[in-house]
């Protein structure tokens, strides 16, 4: 089964929906075992390793992050942060049916809130998807903030 554009777009929309509902463990299951979640710290950044990034995490680090959120002594998440994604319709930028690899770009406004503070972030997400045994998975999610080089307070959840 190959992936139609609609199926890919729905996947990206559903992914954000899991985050907005705080279903982080289910969200993490969307990623391949060798996946990365990357938030560059410089516009147009090409190197995730030999340059500073806001985040560049594998599945283990993402799991630590997610399990930490509910820890009894995770004071920075008491009370918990919440988030909301407002997405433009994802655009399919690359379809390789032979290799079952797909790339989408999605513009977003993202809001993170905790207590009375609310912060708005804007940018675009790039999803590198791969279909394995008929199931779509994320191999790379890259999040580019339009002001990625600005000074931020806590970025606590996932964009």
């Amino acid at each position: 089964m190959t992936s139609s554009a609609d199926r890919l777009i729905d996947f990206v929309l559903d992914e954000a929906h899991l985050l907005d509902e705080g279903r982080f463990t289910e969200w993490l299951d969307l990623f391949t075992e060798d996946a990365r979640y990357w938030m560059p710290a410089a516009p147009g950044q090409t190197d995730p390793k030999l340059h500073n990034s806001l985040m560049y995490e594998d599945k283990l680090l993402l799991r630590i992050r997610i399990e930490r959120l509910t820890g009894a002594r995770t004071y920075s998440e008491q009370p918990r942060s919440r988030c909301h994604h407002l997405l433009q319709t994802p655009r399919v930028e690359h379809l390789d049916h032979d290799r079952r690899e797909y790339r989408l770009r999605t513009s977003f406004h993202y809001v993170e809130t905790r207590l009375d503070r609310q912060t708005l972030y804007a940018g675009w997400a790039s999803h590198h998807l791969v279909e394995i045994d008929g199931v779509l998975r994320i191999r790379l999610k890259r999040v580019d903030l339009v002001n990625c080089d600005a000074a931020f307070g806590n970025i606590s959840l996932f964009m």
Binding site: S53, M55, L61, R63, I64, G71, T74, Y75
Partner: protein
């Protein structure tokens, strides 16, 4: 400012700092903050950047020293100027925030007055319009204000804003050994700023960050959530799983009180000091292939062992930077207001070392110092709670008395137990010294 200067004499300031307690106003009072900008950050030596950020003539970057906006520029003669970023004509911020190349002179975007890279006024359009107007006696004729003194130490650029005051070597003394060690870790004997910078906004007083750097009784508590979770998840992995670099970096934050107590703290005069005298959370990282060989080729076995045997954890250079030699990071705690601090975390490449070492540096910076860092989230939460808590009028004092000993701080390079708050007290002794009104400042 005139009234402030009269009001806050040495005796009044000393009333805020006891041997083992600090008055909450020192963290919360905007008047004290303004006084810090006017006195402390002008009389002390501030780190402004690294010479590798301005390799060529005309290269510049901007930063602040206390509340003063400054531009650091490489002159044609190879020297480095630290200039106040304010046109002498109408007061316009001359150079945009950031970095770039100015060419041979600095041109104001408003009326095209130009200044040399040494700050001297060069040209004014229609200059004859000032003939006979008393311009020679006007302040504008002086060009850009500059730092009173600039010192480039092994490519680290420091300045003292005041024209007169303590000399660089007297101010830092033996504490420069941490910078020496960081530079010596490069097989080529020099560092480069690389990989950009992480910028993290904190709604708390800058001194909370400076104190936290040698606070060894908080990691196992505040970071239980991040490092503790890491250790728990790591222990669930099948035996024999190779330990990732990220786990090597996170896990030691969960070390015991005994571990931190044993690692020791060394304190130097003028508020400088470091944790990690005999051991540290950076001591047990896996070797980087090719690095040791490159070091031995450059320095020989014995010197290499000496250089890499130094495991210093956090070195605080008073007032507002922290250096990690074994990790090659430098953090600047830039004061913006009594309750607002911008933390910049810089990374350095050891020239001649394998890329993997710089990858480790960037990973550490990202895992610990990014606005998305879970360790950073732990710390910022407690800083901001402290800033809020200190607003209460029902308690006035912050305790810094752990393992206080009468007469401490009189010896140079004194080594104390790792869980002592002696370095925090050392910073407050320096704070009092450099907050004193100019007429009371010791030479």
């Amino acid at each position: 400012m005139g009234d402030l200067a009269k009001r806050w004499n040495g005796a009044e300031l000393r009333a805020l700092i006891r041997d083992n307690e600090v008055h909450r106003a020192v963290y919360t009072d905007p008047e004290i903050f303004n006084l810090e900008m006017a006195r402390l950050f002008r009389a002390s030596w501030a780190y402004v950047g690294h010479a590798s950020q301005v390799p060529n003539a005309g290269d510049y970057f901007t930063t602040t020293v206390g509340a003063e906006p400054v531009v650091i520029v490489r002159r044609g003669d190879g020297g480095i100027s630290v200039l106040i970023n304010r046109c002498s004509h109408k007061g316009v911020r001359l150079v945009s925030e950031g970095s770039g190349n100015l060419g041979k002179f600095i041109r104001c975007p408003y009326h095209a007055w130009t200044f040399g890279t040494d700050g001297a006024l060069q040209n004014i359009p229609l200059r004859e319009g000032y003939d006979g107007t008393g311009f020679d006696a006007a302040e504008a004729r002086l060009g850009l204000a500059r730092a009173g003194a600039v010192e480039v130490y092994r490519e680290f650029v420091f300045c003292r804003l005041n024209d007169e005051g303590i000399r660089f070597n007297d101010y830092f003394g033996e504490s420069l050994s941490t910078l020496d060690n960081m530079v010596d870790r490069a097989p080529a004997g020099r560092l480069e700023v690389a990989g950009g910078v992480l910028r993290y906004m904190h709604q708390c007083n800058w001194k909370m960050l400076a104190e936290n750097q040698t606070d060894t009784c908080h990691p196992m508590v505040a970071h239980e959530s991040s490092a503790g979770t890491t250790v728990r998840i790591w222990n669930e992995q099948p035996e024999g799983t190779p330990k990732p670099m990220a786990v090597e970096q996170f896990a030691p934050f969960a070390s015991s009180y005994k571990f931190f107590d044993n690692m020791g703290i060394r304190i130097w005069p003028n508020g400088h000091g470091h944790t990690g005298v005999s051991d540290s959370i950076h001591a047990a990282y896996s070797p980087i292939p090719g690095y040791h060989e490159a070091m031995v080729a450059a320095y020989g076995e014995e010197r290499t062992r000496h250089i890499l045997g130094e495991v210093r954890h956090n070195t605080v250079y008073f007032p507002n930077i922290m250096v990690k030699g074994p990790i090659q990071t430098l953090r600047v705690f830039r004061p913006l207001a009594a309750d607002r601090t911008l933390v910049e975390s810089w990374t350095f490449r050891l020239v001649g070392a394998p890329d993997l070492l710089f990858e480790r540096t960037c990973m550490y910076n990202r895992l610990i110092n990014s606005p998305a860092s879970i360790v950073g989230h732990d710390d910022l939460e407690v800083y901001e709670r402290a800033q809020q808590g200190l607003q209460t009028g029902f308690r006035d004092w912050v305790n810094v008395g752990r393992l206080f000993q009468t007469g401490e701080g009189t010896a140079n390079a004194e080594v104390v137990r790792g869980t002592s708050e002696a370095q925090m007290r050392n910073q407050f002794r320096a704070w009092l010294r450099f907050m004193a009104p100019p007429q009371e400042l010791a030479p």
